[in-house]
């Protein structure tokens, strides 16, 4: 599904002539539908987003987040900080790794599940199940699976005569493990999205191509993939937004370690804000993250014009 902004204007009516008092009263009543939802979204999302931008220009103390004006000092500080740079790189690797994994595996699974198979709902249930797990539970389950020496993975490795690996304690593998658990958690959701997309594929077109002697790989590449580009686009946008917010699994599995190898932007903001009480720099990093996410999403929408096939 592509969030089509064009929908915003799909039913604009020409402005109605000036309202008489009775209509005015009715409109006031209609606002009651909007108020509860929009007030809370404003109070806890939109206004705080503005406030974060404000705080980011101040030097903070524990008691007062806006103690003294600092201009762009906080931004300069984070951009010169190696720790922030590391967090940025880890975030991009993490978001890229998770997104590519769920797209490739999700497409594969959806294609397999889309055939008329017996017991297809059993497979679908098993594959979707991790999505409902708390990320903390998934993290804990993977920690146990990846226990050095005695976990399942290392036990199998040793049975095969290979050395055991301290998966979460090694700077080279820890981020990979976080990517793995996140992929495991969300794969079912994206598979379902792709399954939805596959229902849009024109069966006759596929059959006609097969009759003309096209192999299944060609059919997949030339017919199936182009027909579900809106689903792929939605999945890519959604997965990147979701990856930027990852926190729970990192907190539970590695606390950002070892040697900050799994510290992402969100985790950096958390430690700056709530371990060092450096609200100014944490806010500057928050603004940086929101802008980066906005740019990435905007770029995806821009590039989408080239590869997303819409029917209209």
């Amino acid at each position: 599904m592509a969030i089509r902004l064009a929908n915003l204007a799909d039913d604009i009516h020409p402005l109605e002539p000036s309202l008489n008092p009775r209509r005015r009263l009715r409109q006031a009543g209609e606002w009651l539908f909007l108020i509860p939802g929009i007030v809370t979204v404003l109070a806890f999302f939109i206004v705080p987003a503005g406030y974060v931008i404000y705080i980011s220009f101040f030097q903070s103390t524990i008691m007062n987040p806006t103690a003294s004006f600092a201009g762009v000092g906080n931004y300069r500080a984070i951009l010169h900080s190696a720790q922030f740079g590391g967090a940025l790189v880890h975030t991009l690797i993490f978001a890229g790794g998770v997104t590519i994994s769920v797209l490739v595996l999700g497409l594969l699974l959806a294609t397999l599940l889309d055939q008329r198979l017996r017991a297809v709902s059993v497979y679908r249930t098993v594959i979707f199940l991790p999505y409902v797990f708390p990320l903390v539970s998934s993290g804990v389950a993977f920690m146990w699976l990846l226990q050095p020496q005695y976990g399942f993975v290392d036990t199998v490795l040793q049975l095969l005569g290979l050395p055991a690996v301290n998966w979460l304690g090694n700077v080279h593998t820890a981020l990979l493990c976080i990517i793995a658990v996140t992929t495991w958690e969300f794969l079912g959701f994206y598979t379902l999205i792709f399954l939805g997309g596959l229902q849009n594929v024109n069966v006759h077109l596929k059959e006609a191509a097969a009759v003309d002697g096209a192999g299944s790989w060609t059919v997949f590449r030339k017919i199936t993939v182009p027909s579900i580009t809106p689903s792929i686009f939605f999945a890519a946008v959604f997965s990147i937004i979701q990856s930027f917010q990852a926190f729970d699994q990192i907190y539970i599995m590695t606390q950002g370690g070892p040697a900050m190898a799994t510290q992402t932007l969100t985790y950096y903001i958390y430690t700056q804000g709530f371990q060092f009480f450096n609200f100014g720099q944490a806010s500057a990093a928050s603004v940086f993250m929101m802008v980066l996410l906005g740019l990435l999403t905007g770029a995806q929408f821009f590039l989408a014009k080239r590869w997303v096939v819409t029917e209209e």
Binding site: R4, L8, I12, E30, F33, L34, P36, G37, I38, V39, T40, V41, L42, F44, F45, I46, V47, P48, V52, L109, L112, L117, Y123, R124, I127, P130, Y131, V132, F133, P134, L135, V136, S137, V140, A141, W144, L145, Q147, Q149, T155, L159, L187, F189, L192, I193, L195, G196, P230, I241, F247, D248, I252, T266, I269, G273, S286, M289, M290, L293, T297
Partner: protein
């Protein structure tokens, strides 16, 4: 061929679950024995974990806060989505633009102001801090709007001709016809808030207000070699039972709801 690939993938997906359940029924000594197939299984760990930690209280906190959040979200989102789709209020496009904007703002990037607001209200470590920030949801409004767009406008207009108020149309036409979307939203957001660690971790600081994810994270804060893995696995199995049951119950709505959402372009 298809079956074998699917079966392999399903087994890989199920592996962490199976390993977790096995671990929850072993003694610590058996857990660290390098045997793939455990020798003795018992439910002893479950008894130990239920008597050793106030797990029942964490469950209560989780259920209580999640239930209230979900009920409030269903109410606020369905009303707002109705207002956006079916009324002619000037400014509903501004409202919808704000909703889209809020989808792009992760709470992980605005938690500092939210925390400041809550501490100014003296709400830190109260149920209100766990619930109130989430009673409105941009995602919920957006999601329900998608399904409301499927309701024929002519139907709404003919009811209006017959003198029905918006409130009547909302209750008699819109709500009954979007049940699958409501259940889907309740499941997706309920599962999310039940499992959410980040926020409860920030705003609660005594076990009396802890929810399940915070309780679980408490185990892993021990030194790595002192984590009680067998108890942790038992607690973890208990923690996932409610969401697994909820999922199995609502699965057909969920599949339908997500597919419809994905299909709607």
């Amino acid at each position: 061929m298809t079956y074998s690939v699917l079966t392999v993938i399903a087994l890989v997906v199920a592996l962490p679950l199976v390993w977790m359940i096995l671990g929850s029924m072993e003694s610590v000594r058996d857990m660290f024995s390098r045997a793939l197939v455990p020798a003795n299984l018992s439910l002893h760990n479950y008894v130990a974990v239920l008597t050793g930690q106030p797990l029942a209280h964490y469950f209560f906190n989780s259920f209580f806060t999640t239930a209230i959040i979900v009920c409030c979200q269903l109410l606020t989102s369905s009303l707002a989505a109705y207002g956006i789709v079916f009324t002619k209020i000037r400014g509903r496009y501004v409202v919808f633009a704000l909703v889209i904007m809020s989808l792009m703002i992760p709470i992980q990037s605005i938690f500092i102001p939210d925390y400041i607001i809550l501490s100014d209200l003296r709400w830190i470590n109260t149920y209100a801090a766990l619930i109130v920030p989430f009673i409105g949801t941009g995602f919920g409004i957006f999601f329900l709007r998608q399904s409301y767009l499927g309701i024929p406008r002519t139907l709404v207009e003919s009811m209006q001709m017959d003198g029905a108020t918006h409130w009547t149309i909302f209750r008699r036409l819109v709500l009954p016809n979007t049940k699958a979307a409501l259940v889907t939203l309740a499941l997706l957001n309920g599962v999310f808030h039940y499992g959410y660690l980040f926020w409860p971790l920030l705003v609660t600081n005594t076990p009396a207000r802890w929810v399940i994810p915070v309780g679980l994270s408490y185990y892993t804060e021990a030194q790595p070699d002192q984590i009680l893995w067998n108890l942790l696995m038992a607690a973890n199995v208990l923690a996932v039972i409610p969401v697994v049951l909820a999922f199995l119950w609502g699965q057909r709505y969920l599949v339908k709801g997500v597919l419809a959402y994905a299909l709607k372009g």
